[in-house]
């Protein structure tokens, strides 16, 4: 009982400490994280027509869940689940019978620079994959040992991971490495898992394939999004400690500490001590397979900063459709972070055992306690919402008004200032991706050019490129196929008066002004699900099949026992 309850308790404490500010009302709006009061389910959310499907099927899942839950509750549910399941998953994965070692693994995986940095950049979809990964690895291990229901659990973890393309690819690669092998019914299990995993990834794969954009990315993004040196030791050591995100604004300030590289080396040494235990306790070569996956993920994360790597990546993203997925290398560290946490926990166990053998039991416990506290000591500013940086704010009333007006007379919207990220004063000057596409129930066009350190990384959306030219030339937006122009009162290039010529003001509030194009008329282009909608349905059907197969499995033994047990027979 204690062994089951303690990891839950640790997960609860870590979650409460990390997400403490979310006890306040409102929404945390930060970089790529936007939750709105009532998400709308639209074809644009399901299948972006011209842009790369970076938030497919994430936006559709949020919109679907948003029909049952308000946005503020959904955001808290997701963030709590991420930290909780990450801690619990790592605690359950580590092969040990000692509760203290499980606690080391829980802290080692849920209190990492990776989680802090991706939380600060708002990529919660990727963190869902992070939280699901220990469960995926555990299920893969159980598939190999023939435990009933393991394939279903593995596919549930893959389904959760596939909420974003990066998570889906990582889960697919992990399943491809961990599941094949020599064990009873290996071929059948591998085919079932990999086939279903591909189907679960179908929404973003199909959306990318049918997008009207080329799918190729600006090679300038490789340098802009390469791993970053967080301190004197350089980017490779930052990555070795699971940090090194490209964005200084999403990096906890403690990562600049001169002692962080020393702590990283210490952690690697402890993890190195744990590797022999891991190889001994996991059957076959499973530890080696996880090691290959972890090493490969570190290498993939580091390619952008290795000699010649940037040039090769630049060619890749500019030539291969969809390869832009890997230009932000640090996010690929996910398997490495898990392997480090598990091996680190076993290394702490081994060191604690040595301390017990040489000194006494108390010394051994002190060593384990030190291993538990090490991640917190190295990264103290993950506590309390990354030292207060995850603070909820309230949506200004203007947004609800504009949403109501545009929903009453649906038509395409252009959001100004024409830039992908906004920095509203009401959001405490924190940068956030333009909220309009998610708040409004109509198609919204925003610029997809990314600005990093004064340099532009070109987007992929040809429609955005056309409107950008229009605005730069000061030509009237009324000529574009657009019903609404939304002007947010935020920093950024202000629209010229000539661009707004011919438009009629419908709402003028303190935060937003909404213009209507009086000459707009609906174009005959049909909107509908198409192949992307079918891919969503297919993935949804696979998901329902996985869940139902589990329900059937649970029911079957009960029915069998009723027939088998004389005590429960007729009149029994």
């Amino acid at each position: 009982m204690r062994e089951r309850l303690v990891p839950h308790g640790v997960a609860a404490v870590v979650t409460a400490v990390v997400l403490a500010p979310l006890a306040l009302p409102g929404y945390v709006l930060r970089y790529d994280m936007v939750f709105v009061p009532r998400p709308t389910l639209s074809w644009e959310a399901i299948a972006p027509v011209t842009a790369l499907p970076r938030a497919v099927p994430q936006d559709a899942v949020v919109a679907l869940l948003g029909q049952a839950l308000p946005g503020w509750a959904l955001q808290r549910l997701v963030l709590v689940a991420i930290v909780w399941f990450a801690a619990l998953g790592a605690a359950r994965l580590v092969p040990t019978d000692r509760t203290g070692v499980r606690v080391v693994a829980a802290l080692g995986y849920a209190w990492t620079p990776y989680l802090a940095e991706r939380l600060l950049i708002g990529q919660w979809g990727l963190l869902v994959a992070y939280a699901a990964f220990p469960w995926l690895v555990r299920a893969a291990l159980e598939v190999r040992t023939g435990r009933p229901g393991a394939a279903r659990r593995l596919l549930l973890a893959v389904a959760a991971s596939a909420i974003t393309p990066t998570g889906g690819v990582l889960a697919l690669v992990a399943a491809g490495i961990l599941v094949p092998g020599r064990y009873p019914r290996a071929g059948r299990s591998t085919a079932l898992v990999l086939g279903s995993a591909v189907l679960l990834n179908a929404p973003w794969l199909v959306a990318g394939a049918v997008s009207t954009g080329t799918g190729r990315s600006d090679p300038a993004g490789v340098e802009a999004f390469a791993a970053r040196a967080e301190n004197w030791a350089g980017p490779l050591v930052s990555l070795a400690g699971t940090g090194g995100i490209w964005n200084a604004q999403a990096t906890p300030a403690s990562r600049a500490s001169v002692l962080v590289p020393v702590a990283t080396v210490l952690l690697l040494a402890v993890a190195g001590c744990g590797v022999p235990l891991l190889r001994r306790r996991w059957p076959g070569a499973f530890a080696v397979r996880l090691g290959v996956l972890a090493g490969g993920s570190w290498l993939a994360a580091a390619v952008g900063v290795l000699p010649g790597g940037a040039a090769a990546l630049g060619w890749l993203v500019a030539s291969v459709p969809g390869a832009g997925l890997v230009r932000d290398g640090q996010k690929l560290l996910l398997p490495y972070a898990l392997a480090l946490a598990v091996a680190g926990a076993l290394g702490a166990e081994r060191l604690a055992d040595r301390a017990v053998a040489r000194f006494d039991a108390v010394t051994g416990r002190v060593v384990l306690a030190g291993a538990v506290l090490l991640p917190v000591a190295v990264l103290p500013d993950l506590a309390f919402g990354a030292a207060g940086r995850l603070r909820p704010v309230q949506w200004p009333a203007d947004w609800a008004t504009v949403a109501r007006l545009t929903a009453a007379r649906p038509g395409p919207v252009i959001s100004l200032p024409f830039q992908e990220y906004q920095r509203p004063a009401w959001n405490r000057d924190v940068v956030v991706i333009d909220p309009a596409p998610r708040y409004l129930a109509v198609p919204v066009l925003v610029d997809d050019t990314l600005w990093v350190g004064g340099r532009a990384v070109a987007g992929e959306d040809p429609r955005a490129a056309r409107v950008r030219m229009l605005i730069a030339d000061g030509r009237p937006l009324a000529a574009e196929d657009v019903r609404w122009v939304l002007v947010q009162h935020v920093p950024g290039p202000a629209p010229r008066a000539s661009a707004l010529a011919g438009l009629r003001i419908v709402h003028a509030g303190p935060d937003l002004t909404l213009y209507e194009n009086p000459v707009w008329s609906p174009s005959p282009t049909a909107t509908g699900p198409g192949p992307v909608g079918l891919a969503h349905l297919l993935a949804g059907a696979v998901m329902i099949g996985i869940v139902l197969s589990g329900t059937a499995r649970r029911r079957r033994p009960v029915i069998a026992s009723r027939h088998a047990s004389p005590a429960e027979g007729e009149g029994g």
Partner: protein, 55 residues
Amino acid sequence: MKNLPAFVAVGVLGVVLGLLLSVGLANGLGTSAQDAADKAGNSSTVDQPIEYGAR
């Protein structure tokens, strides 16, 4: 004397973790550091596009 190794272990761990924690906190909890981190790269004039981030 029997508990000496445990006392030494606690002392060493206390020094190591305390050092890491104090240096980390000094870096991480300064208000100016947080503000600088949140606004770095976006202190430009209002006519320039908002940056996704800064390296």
